[in-house]
Subunit: 491 residues, 2 copies
Amino acid sequence: MGKNLTKRSEDYSKWYNELVVKADLAENSGVRGCMVIKPYGFAIWEKMQAGLDKMFKETGHENAYFPLFIPKSYLSKEASHVEGFAKECAVVTHYRLKNAEDGSGIIVDPEAKLEEELVVRPTSETIIWDTYRKWIQSYRDLPLLINQWANVVRWEMRTRLFLRTAEFLWQEGHTAHATEKEAIDEAELMMNVYADFAENHMAVPVIKGTKTASERFAGALDTYCIEALMQDGKALQAGTSHFLGQNFAKAFDVKFANKEGKQDYVWATSWGVSTRLMGALVMTHSDDNGLVLPPKLAPIQVVIVPIYKGMEQLDAISEKVNPLVKQLRAKGISVKFDNRDTHKPGFKFNEYELKGVPIRLAIGQRDIENGTYEVARRDTLQKESISADAIIEKIEFLLEDIQANIYKKALDFRSEHITQVDSYAEFKEVLENKGGFISAHWDGTEATEERIKNETKATIRCIPMDVKIENGACMVTGRPSDKRVLFAKAY
Amino acid sequence: MGKNLTKRSEDYSKWYNELVVKADLAENSGVRGCMVIKPYGFAIWEKMQAGLDKMFKETGHENAYFPLFIPKSYLSKEASHVEGFAKECAVVTHYRLKNAEDGSGIIVDPEAKLEEELVVRPTSETIIWDTYRKWIQSYRDLPLLINQWANVVRWEMRTRLFLRTAEFLWQEGHTAHATEKEAIDEAELMMNVYADFAENHMAVPVIKGTKTASERFAGALDTYCIEALMQDGKALQAGTSHFLGQNFAKAFDVKFANKEGKQDYVWATSWGVSTRLMGALVMTHSDDNGLVLPPKLAPIQVVIVPIYKGMEQLDAISEKVNPLVKQLRAKGISVKFDNRDTHKPGFKFNEYELKGVPIRLAIGQRDIENGTYEVARRDTLQKESISADAIIEKIEFLLEDIQANIYKKALDFRSEHITQVDSYAEFKEVLENKGGFISAHWDGTEATEERIKNETKATIRCIPMDVKIENGACMVTGRPSDKRVLFAKAY
Ligand SMILES: [Zn+2]
Ligand SMILES: [Zn+2]
């Protein structure tokens, strides 16, 4: 198609890296591991944000904003938390630059050293719970349901655009509750909100479940997650929601008076999704021609390309197209009429295919005469001629149909790629030759989990919420197991 | 009013600090100079963001996101720029923490020192222009009209909530143009967009003008600004828009081929407003009873307080109120029915007055019988009884009327506080006893500007866009001057 895009079958990883850059989603910056999110990519992220934010508000959450910097001592207060993040922290040690006295240039002023170093937030539990201590005195102050949209930094050594970057954008919810049950319900609720968003906005089917102890968030008693499956058979963790127990309340001394006037520690959750969702979106639907975007997240849902010779023909086309553009916009459909005369139609077709615009209309001299548009849908690449009278209805139908179709396609792919195995040999064989999720019995020990990971690179993605209790034997050790868990190689 | 708020006439500065905290807008955090923006304050900021973002998009701008970190060498590339920001930079020097070998706790790992230090962005010209070099080759790539919503850090020694904080939220527009004129037009356009937003959304009248050389942004050839006047007679710079010439293009080698195929450096602008606008909003309209919010930015536009004894009366009230809430929401009006039984009506009245809710409805047994609501407007504190049949119309009228009234009030105050003076003695007298803007002749030299600043703390806020050319003499030196400029003490 003239896009010089590596084919997925040749090198999936290379295809992804090229596509993210060529489709103008993001690129690497001059700062190691930090990406630039380009306008087209950011427009998709904005639609994700808007959709999620609405769902958060509908479930009673409010937004707030907490400091970027976390004093080192705060991070250290919850033992397993600092253990989890210490190895990848960007640390601010000084607050001034100055001209070197030898004239060699700008240097860090050694006299402007901070008394206590500040960590650039890798996540905000500690600074937020330090604040909650001031906000929570009584059961009347609970529940506290707060979300923050923010940038965070984790100093990863090997980075990939959207999937793993030193700085990324995300939202982090942090809630406080009077009872354990209420906190667990909240953690589950937000996992369900994430699943709803992934499936109904992103058209990405996900499996809901809980993590094993070794895969939990640093400081959590339980981690709920949604796991998606990419076209190369690898899993991607698309969102997590943590039940934090009273760990952070104890670390930051956040107590409340209950209805009986008794003091108790507050129960906590935190939950987040990040720009990693962009990676999941790209890798779930896109093809060798470029992005395939779900209509609900596409910055441009409909593009109209005129095919003409000379201004007279263009004028005739514009006369038809301009009112259509207006009518579509009035219906809340985002539409672009690309009447640039600097590029040929073929170039434009390629560009919008690469960028995943769900519907493309083309209109030329013949269409004007026949009162038609040529309509192409991005997901199937099918084209048909549609009467101008029926075009709006057709577009409305297609926007829904494409959304549903790419979801179904992804769901079918995933269904074909959940394999039940009963022996470790079979497990390795499926992992090697087919990929996807593997449903197997496991003896519940970290030792076995670790062994499988070391020998095969597969991890337990989750214990599905809808898991069936059944008698079985661990595929590795033969020890008894009462449920199957889902393994996969993962991003 | 039981709010224990210091009166403005007693101590304006204290009044402001107390109000920001008591009205739940923001508070200081455990991190020096960094604030927590609380949910109610953030809800106002979100409305500001939404309003501005819409205006940016309507003027052709797109959002993107660039790295938080700026390599020290980037910042150093534009000489006057680094000069302006070096003294207040948070510097990341290490990327890992570890357990101290002597068991004393968590320390910065000395082996994880960055080769090149990273500055937490105080503003993003340098990292963005380093990126634009890759994006701009030809006049076809121009103009490039990009905005970013982000957090930035400037290590201020003396901070105040919203007005001056080490970390703040803002938007920064960065545009690239083929011609000088186009860049200047853009810088002016964005000043006008800011003025439109300040006046028509925030109800804050502003004066548009340009800065003198000494007050310009570090790296700009010209800085356009909007200046507002607070109730204590001090000015507040509410937004700036910079014409950057070719400074950053030259520093980062960003050239383009023009239509004739000749290489030239690109012309630049940048422009920003920040959470400082929250300070301007509070200080322009609020009174000794608390916040006064313009309806266009109020998170809650209408609050309804039931006055009742017992559940039966509350039920009767709810039967009237619930359909009204629904009707108001259908009209896009944000309304809260505060039926909490944990607080008395008087407490609620105080709370919503403190929080600046524009319209308060109260409904009790008598109102039910009479088919009325008691309607109170926050700006004038006037109350009246309105028939339930006319209540929606009344609310719609009041939302517009309050928006217009607080703007007019602020405008009248400002008009009364622009004083024309012709001698330095008079200047000092007005500055001391009346405050506000002072319109005076100035000889155009930095020396005189500096002298006035040192002697009176007043600075030149701007040379107004609508300045009249007239013959005059500098109030200090007597040297010739062809226009008056606006002085004031400022935040
Ligand atoms: Zn397969
Ligand atoms: Zn006065």
